[in-house]
Amino acid sequence: MFYRLSGTYHTSYESDRRLWKVPADRWLVAVILVLAVLAPFLVSPLYLGSYVLPWVIWSAAALSLTLLMGMAGQLHFGFAAVMAIGAYASIHLVRAGVPFELALLLSGLIAAVIGAVFGGAALRVKGLYLVMATLAMQYLVDWVVVNVPAISGGAHATLRTPAVTFLFLPLDSLASRYWLALGWAAVLTVFFMNVKRSSFGRALVAIRDKDFAAAVIGVDPFRTKLVAFFTSSFMGGVSGAILAFCFYRAVTPEQFGFNVSIQLVAMVLVGGLGSVIGAYLGAGFVLLAPIFLTNIISGLAASGWVPVSQNFLSHLPLMIYGAMIIGFLLLEPLGLAKIYDNIRKYFLVWPFRHARS
């Protein structure tokens, strides 16, 4: 119907390598991109600042983590710490007089170098032990950030982001900050769609599927894992800086705690491991679904339909969030991306029933 194709057959390497295998996908992305760019004119500033902007930034963060978890198969439960390094590094660099554009790149590099140390654990262990090692590193980075006054400005202090310009445009309005975040998300998306087709992306997938077997066919697990951690941490560090400058604008260590790491892993899993569209859907779902459901239920409670206590309502987002993770893992382990894929495949050959794409 939308796609005007009756099955897609990738019979040559050239057609299999193509970025847009179905022409309609290109149009869909173009329409969404135009809508996203025009979002400051389409939605009210309240919705833009509290829903759309965090969605875009967290999608970028989820994309960074997807490179590591979805493609390289390395579990990482300390990604919020990497983002914290990027955020704090960028603020201190800008305060020291470094231009913002350069500070973003440098903070990414700092996060990448420290993040690659996390990868040192990945070179030795995998699975559960890697989860524990990254979790321990998350606590270490947290502690350093809180307890070194030169970084956080003292215990329980808040660090305000200075006013900056990006490519001579001042980042003072909400719309300009949104466009910067959107630009970064777009850069990551383009990178992702292409890395999947490159030899590096295929090496990552080989490592994910079985690293011993990958080593046998000539993929260097040491190098690939380290590069995966480095790249992913670079993108995570820049995302953390963007998060600090475009959304929070005043940074405290609690904003990058262990729970945030869990939230990021949940975004990647709910969205679907290793999928670009999944990162966007997952970030939106994990971020927004608890808010909307809590609003609905507290609205019902206020109108007297459902008798629930204030205490229950205050714990409701946590419950919905936990139930959502469990629900997705049990009912659709491949996440929202698979649901989207199923719908797409249905319409790809509509009105027939079988897709072979």
Partner: protein, 292 residues
């Protein structure tokens, strides 16, 4: 010197109480091969269960067995509804499922039963035991003894007929099926036993600091205990617990004033990291050999 000995003893006792939390993790990992990151929330739920049963007007020593029965059932239900469908899935799915359970319980249980700290009075009293210059926390002492008793009981349990079945299941699922052991039931029972261990942990920790959601943060030191002792070793829980407790009390006792507080988390993190770097399978754990 008295300060050092006091830190040493209180550290060892606290560590034994950590090992109560860690025991649930080991029981499940040993039989099912599932890392149970929801053990902290199970302890919290068990603490709430003890408080709930006590609020029906029952004596605490009756309330604990009743709560144990409730938590045994809860463990069985969790295994049946959630974990059984995760067989054969990658480890990230299982880890995330148990974390989802942790988050759900941390919202659900205080949401229904109230989030203010609930007291549990075991009738132990709060006056410290004084030997020379050394003060010993009475609740910790009883907690440590309770932990030793429970770990000893579980060691004895593994020698019974049912315990032998659980050990067989932990060795090899397929072979256990072949000789007629119901693997599903064994794993369910190990979840139930983890629930019982959580009741003891919840009651003792709850009597020390009150029952509220912060009990679920015991997960982190418990993970250090488990990693250090070996994820599939019951005696490792005691040794790992004492080591984590002593290091996590003595070092912060001297460093906290210099480094600006909460060095306990740092010590715990370093224990986890160093163990994984040097000897990933822990002191008593079994090293798995991987094949393609």
């Amino acid at each position: 010197m008295a300060y050092f000995i006091e830190l040493l003893i209180s550290g060892a006792l606290t560590g034994l109480m950590y090992s109560l939390v860690a025991l649930g993790f080991v029981l499940i990992y040993k039989s099912a091969g599932v890392p149970n990151l929801a053990q902290g929330a199970l302890v919290m739920t068990a603490g709430y269960a003890v408080w709930l049963v006590m609020s029906w007007g029952l004596n605490v020593w009756i309330a604990i067995p009743v709560a144990a029965a409730i938590m045994f059932g809860f463990g069985l239900v969790v295994e049946r509804l959630l974990l059984r469908r995760m067989v054969g899935q990658p480890v990230i799915m299982v880890v995330m499922l148990t974390l989802g359970l942790e988050i759900l319980l941390r919202g659900l249980v205080p949401g229904i039963l109230g989030s203010t700290p609930k007291p549990i009075d075991l009738g132990i009293g709060f006056a410290p035991i004084i030997i020379g210059d050394v003060f010993i926390n009475r609740t910790s002492l009883y907690g440590g003894i309770g932990a030793l008793l429970l770990v000893g009981a579980s060691l004895l349990f593994f020698r019974t007929r049912l315990g032998t079945k659980l050990r067989a299941v932990s060795d090899d699922h397929v072979s256990s099926w072949a000789v007629g052991i119901s693997v599903e039931r064994a794993i369910g029972i190990s979840w139930g036993l983890a629930g019982i261990a959580a009741v003891v942990a919840g009651a003792l920790w709850g009597s020390q600091q009150g029952v509220d959601w912060t009990l679920s943060t015991l997960l982190f030191p418990a993970i250090a205990v488990v990693i250090l002792g070996g994820v599939d070793s019951v005696p490792g829980v005691v040794v790992g617990g004492i080591l984590v407790g002593v290091l996590g009390t003595v070092i912060p006792g001297y460093l906290d004033s210099i480094a600006g507080g909460s060095t306990r988390d740092v010590v715990t993190s370093l224990i986890i990291l160093l163990t994984i770097m040097v000897r990933p399978f822990g002191i008593f754990g079994r090293e798995d050999i991987e094949r393609i």
